[in-house]
């Protein structure tokens, strides 16, 4: 079965009680005076196999929430997200690693939680270290790692788990140039083999090296960015995500052919 992501009328709600604490829907029914804020609402679309998509948009547009919902970290409050294929996600700044455990121990934990058999993961730990390029730091507690080292560790585990769908959230901000090329190579190979890559961030130039198509997420929904592959790299990435390749006049809407988005 080919990998795919289908999003229909997706809505993710955040409930906040009167003491300004985030709360769960069940608890918000008990606690009075709770307010609901929609992180995402009425989001629809589909991503087909063999696509690498950059997810851009202003801060607070819901890029991380959307990635987390596709990853299954969050579940929709409205609508649904259907995915087909094994998901590898690097969505948190600490890459899901527990600070008091060593890189090796974290790799085993993350690998098994990602669905790999324990024996395989144990046998592959040195290989994962090689992929991460952590060398002797692999046996040090993760609390001594930089953000980039944590991202390398998380990515190496994902790489070893051979995902069909790769989700990356602002990973470029954490890793160095050499490892960025490594991530790009892996993403290109995954795309070529029919997998899906979805990467969110604000560095459009870096995202353009990783993804040949882009989607802009804002209050009105998800919109394809025509001409991303041709012109986005030349466009200065503004923090609000307002400037797109479309604004630079490059490319056409046909570039977004693998994206089935409502227009």
């Amino acid at each position: 079965m080919r990998p795919g992501v289908v999003i229909s009328e997706l809505g993710v709600r955040f409930d906040i009680d009167r003491q300004k604490r985030p709360t769960t829907p069940a608890l918000s029914r008990i606690r009075r005076h709770c307010t609901a804020v929609w992180g995402l609402r009425h989001i629809s679309g589909a991503i087909e196999a063999g696509t690498a998509v950059a997810l851009i948009g202003p801060n607070g547009a819901g890029k991380t929430t959307l990635l987390r919902t596709i990853a299954g970290v969050l579940e929709p409050d409205e609508g649904q997200v259907q995915t087909c294929g094994r998901i590898g996600s690097l969505l948190a700044i600490n890459a899901g690693a527990m600070p008091r455990l060593t890189g090796r121990e974290n790799a085993l934990l993350l690998g098994v939680l990602a669905g790999l058999p324990r024996r395989w993961t144990r046998e592959a730990l040195d290989q994962i270290n090689e992929l991460a390029g952590l060398s002797t730091a692999f046996d040090r507690p993760v609390s001594t790692y930089s953000q980039g080292m944590r991202a390398r560790l998380g990515f190496a585990v994902i790489q070893y788990s051979r995902p069909d769908i790769l989700l990356l959230d602002e990973i470029h901000e954490a890793i160095d140039g050499e490892y960025r090329r490594h991530v790009e190579q892996f993403a290109r190979d995954l795309q070529r083999s029919g997998g899906i890559v979805i990467a969110a961030g604000h560095d459009h130039q870096e995202l353009a090296r990783l993804c040949d198509q882009a989607l802009r997420l804002d209050g009105s929904g998800l919109h394809p960015v025509p001409g991303w592959a041709d012109g986005a790299g030349a466009v200065t990435a503004d923090a609000a995500g307002a400037v797109t390749a479309e604004d630079s006049g490059a490319g056409t809407a046909e570039d977004s052919e693998a994206l089935a988005w409502p227009r």
Binding site: F14, P22, T23, T24, P25, A26, L27, R68, A71, G72, V73, L74, E75, I87, S89, L90, L91, A92, N94, A95, G96, A97, M98, P99, R100, L101, E105, N106, L108, L109, L110, V112, L113, A114, G115, P117, R118, G154
Partner: protein
């Protein structure tokens, strides 16, 4: 494809899923163990300090404050302190379980229903270690083991199961009301004093005894005492009360936990 091969395929898939479930529980527990208690031989010492210290303090109180000299006081106390340690440590760890795993919860999907289970299993390692206290007390008071010692594993299993089922509501409380952690720990300590921990059940009379029997800790304490101290078979209620609590907690809170865990990532950071 014939129907028998479909059934065989389903069976294999179920076995594989169960295997993955078990392996994930194992890695969650072992990582929790390292994260909470560190590594090396001092781990065992850390687990033993608490129950040994507690029995020591209660023995001193018994002797010098209450001037009581009950039969095999240290062994009787050990029978209450060991299950109590399991429950109290599980409660303490469960209150923090989601925050502790926040990094993974925010990054990837996994069987989050295993979190409270693995927390209880982590504390079960300390629980197993504290059994040396029981062995030591049996030796100190020279209590010859009888056939009733076979009730000991039953008591230990019930304690473990109660710890696992208690972990689900407590994990939810840790998420719903993190500022109630202190109150929760006080409630657990109160549960010890509202059970025959310091004294045996036979010294409590009348309606108080009836009420005390409702406390699941009462059954766990008395079950262990029946196995190693009273050397008689426990009455049926000592098995039924904790079993009832375990079933009730399981039926009530595991579904609520399952519904709530979908939103844990929203509460992090």
């Amino acid at each position: 494809m014939s129907s028998s091969s479909v059934v065989l395929g389903d069976e294999r898939e179920r076995t594989a899923r169960l295997g993955a479930w078990f392996e994930q529980l194992l890695v969650l527990t072992s990582s929790d163990l390292r994260s909470r208690y560190g590594r090396g031989r001092w781990q065992l010492v850390k687990w033993l300090i608490d129950p040994f210290a507690l029995v020591g303090v209660y023995l001193l109180m018994d002797t010098f404050i209450f001037y009581r000299r009950p039969y095999a006081a240290g062994l009787s106390l050990a029978c209450s302190v060991i299950p109590f340690q399991m429950i109290t440590m599980t409660v303490q760890s469960s209150l923090d379980a989601v925050r502790q795993r926040g990094a993974i919860l925010g990054n990837m999907r996994f069987r989050r229903v295993l979190l409270p289970f693995s927390t209880a299993l982590t504390e079960a390692c300390g629980f197993a270690g504290s059994l040396t206290l029981l062995a030591l007390m049996i030796a100190v008071y020279r209590v010859a083991p009888s056939a009733q010692i076979l009730w000991l594993p039953v008591g230990l299993v019930l304690t473990l199961l109660l710890g696992i089922t208690v972990a689900y509501p407590v994990t939810l409380i840790g998420v719903w009301a993190p500022d109630m952690r202190g109150l929760m720990m006080s409630a657990v300590r109160a549960a010890y004093y509202l059970a025959p921990g310091f004294v045996t059940l036979s010294t409590i009379h009348g309606r108080t005894q009836t009420w005390v029997k409702v406390n699941p800790l009462t059954s766990l304490f008395e079950l262990l005492r029946h196995a190693v101290l009273y050397r008689s078979a426990p009455p049926l209620w000592e098995l039924l009360v904790p079993a009832g609590w375990i079933i009730a907690l399981l039926l009530l809170f595991v579904p609520i936990y399952n519904r709530e865990q979908r939103h844990f990532a929203k509460l992090l950071e």
